[in-house]
């Protein structure tokens, strides 16, 4: 066996430590310090005043998805199913159809993402050969009152604008 065995010294073997009480009092002093600091001046709390104060999100933050468009507004997606193939949570459901605008032969007729199943891993964005799907909307709060409304379709995905400028997105922020 060539595994190096390292003996870690165990803490808490002295009588005082065994007694717990001293250590307990030490710990309680620390927490009480925090308590009074915050009680006397609550502007020093380490909190973000969400939702009034929104967090700063980097352009590479993986928010809700969107489908990008060409300059003329047509969808960039060519329904190649790469995102669906790569999706580990199997939350993308595409139906393809013929495309006649000369950009490509194929386009999505239906493009559903089940946001409840999505794990926001970003593999779909990585897999896309057309830069058609992105997670740069900056929407991090995906909430709804019904399950159905979280199965978002082509329209909704295309309507959502990107949250960042093209330059920032490609730079990756910061």
């Amino acid at each position: 066996m060539s595994i190096k065995v390292r003996v870690v010294e165990r803490k808490g073997r002295t009588f005082l430590e065994q007694l717990y009480l001293v250590e307990v009092v030490k710990g309680m002093t620390v927490t009480l310090g925090h308590f009074f600091r915050n009680l006397l001046d609550n502007s020093r709390l380490y909190v973000r005043h969400y939702p009034e104060v929104k967090p700063e999100i980097s352009p590479r933050w993986r928010g809700r998805h969107r489908l990008t468009r060409h300059e003329d507004g047509s969808v960039k997606c060519v329904a190649c199913f790469m995102c669906q193939t790569n999706c580990p949570s199997n939350c993308i459901m595409i139906e393809a159809g013929e495309r006649f605008d000369g950009r490509s032969e194929k386009m999505p007729v239906k493009f559903d993402i089940d946001l409840l199943e999505c794990i926001y891993c970003g593999y779909c964005v990585e897999a896309c050969p057309m830069d058609a799907i992105r997670m740069d909307t900056g929407i991090f709060s995906v909430t709804s009152n019904s399950r159905e409304s979280l199965l978002i379709g082509l329209e909704q995905l295309m309507e959502t604008p990107g949250g960042f400028s093209e330059v920032d997105y490609h730079k990756g922020g910061g």
Partner: protein, 428 residues
């Protein structure tokens, strides 16, 4: 029995029943706010009625309403529905009953009549407490068992084992304390603590029993199933233990029972070790004798305290980010004006007392009120210790819990009895 007797009895019972209940709201609020401040967070600060958040107390109202209107589920697999429903009641009622024997002020002497300030005047006081608090764990065991759920049963088992382990050191630490006081009547114990030791140290329990107080407090934590001894709930291992199957108000009863138990055991700790309702160096008779100077001091002190409190409110009750027309400044203005109105009202009452009613029965009632205030403040601080400990210490492992109970607390309690006995024998 005169009308006054009946009135006093009604007031006592009302005090015994409603003070713990209203303290539930305060304690829940304290738990949340305390937890937040210990952890550098803000705590409940959203719920409001017309912009008034009452420092987060409105959140409790919202929770209460939510719990009342939630669906009350009795799972289909439960075979003993009666026990299932009985369990939370048991937990809550036993916790509440404990408070009945705790004196919250000195004996009130009105004319030739004496009124003991306990909900249930009882000579056996402390024994009642031990008996009833031990009964409370049946509620937990029953809940765990009747839930027909592995986690529930495990939670119940843990609670049972834990209570058995800690009843013993608790009882033993009490033995030495009772030897010192020479009585089991809680009223007498409270009165005993009004004395002064060597003429200048208040003869409070924690001075007389420095080791006993530690053992008792630790055991009381275990008895109430509070962190670091809340293994019966153990979210990470057994989900929520005995109340995993409960919902709605049945769950709320467990929840309230826990806080009532916490309040009651705080009250008991205060009664036994921290001078009960006694104000240090000011025994009942001293107060009655010097009622006027005390009131004048109060009249001076109140505005001073109110001034600093108002300053604190103004400093902290504002929005810490840019917000047009901050609604919290309005809220602050309301609080401050309410505070000053209260001060004015109190000053007027005290003034009326000074001019018209000084001396006689009014002095007695004044002292009663002061002592109740003292008792409640002490209990409140003890509750804060509960919260403080909870948000400082992690939960013990089960084997550690038993080890501490049997291998440390029990010998220490026995040692305490020997020392106390030796001292009492040698001094008497």
């Amino acid at each position: 029995m005169s009308a006054l007797d009946i009135l006093i009895i009604l007031l006592r019972v009302a005090f015994g029943a409603f003070v713990p209940l209203s303290f539930v709201a305060v304690l829940v609020w304290m738990e949340r706010r305390g937890a937040a401040f210990f952890q550098d967070r803000a705590g409940p600060n959203r719920c409001n009625v017309y912009g008034i958040r009452a420092g987060g107390l409105i959140q409790n109202l919202a929770d209460g309403i939510k719990l009342i209107f939630k669906e009350d589920i009795v799972p289909g697999h439960i075979q003993h529905k009666l026990y299932f429903i009985l369990a939370p009641m048991l937990v809550f009622i036993t916790a509440l009953l404990c408070f009945a024997v705790i004196p919250f002020a000195d004996v009130l002497v009105l004319g030739d009549r004496e009124y003991v300030m306990q909900a249930v005047p009882m000579d056996v006081g402390i024994l009642w407490f031990l008996a009833v608090v031990g009964f409370g764990v049946y509620g937990i065991i029953l809940a765990g068992w009747s839930s027909h759920n592995k986690y529930g049963v495990l939670g119940g088992l843990r609670a049972a084992a834990q209570v058995i382990s800690y009843e013993i050191p608790m009882g033993l630490s009490l033995v030495s304390l009772l030897a010192v006081y020479g009585t089991v009547d809680l009223s007498a114990i409270a009165q005993y603590q009004g004395q002064l030791l060597f003429g200048f140290i208040p003869a409070w329990g924690f001075v007389l029993q420095p080791l006993g107080v530690i053992i008792f407090i630790v055991a009381a934590f275990a008895e109430t199933n509070r962190t670091p001894f809340d293994l019966a709930e153990g979210e990470s291992e057994i989900v929520a233990g005995y109340h995993v199957e409960y919902s709605s108000m049945k769950f709320a009863l467990f929840f309230m029972g826990e806080y009532v138990a916490m309040f009651v055991s705080s009250a008991l700790i205060v009664t036994l070790y921290f001078g009960s309702y006694q104000i240090p160096w000011l025994s009942t008779e001293t107060l009655v004798a010097h009622a006027r100077p005390v009131v004048i001091l109060l009249m001076i002190g109140l505005p001073v305290i109110a001034y600093f409190f108002a300053g604190w409110i103004k400093k902290n009750n504002r929005t810490h980010y840019y917000r047009a027309d901050d609604p919290r400044s309005r809220e602050t203005a309301i609080y401050v004006s309410l505070l000053w109105s209260l001060v004015v009202v109190l000053e007027v009452i005290l003034l009326i007392y000074l001019i018209f009613a000084a001396g006689g029965a009014a002095d007695r009632i004044l002292v009663l009120l002061l002592q109740i205030g003292s008792f409640l403040i002490k209990t409140f601080l003890m509750c804060f210790v509960y919260v403080w400990v909870r948000w400082t210490l992690p939960r013990f492992r089960y084997d550690q819990l038993q080890k501490i109970g049997w291998e440390k607390m029990l010998p220490l309690a026995l040692l305490n009895i020997f020392i106390t006995g030796a001292i009492i024998v040698s001094f008497s």
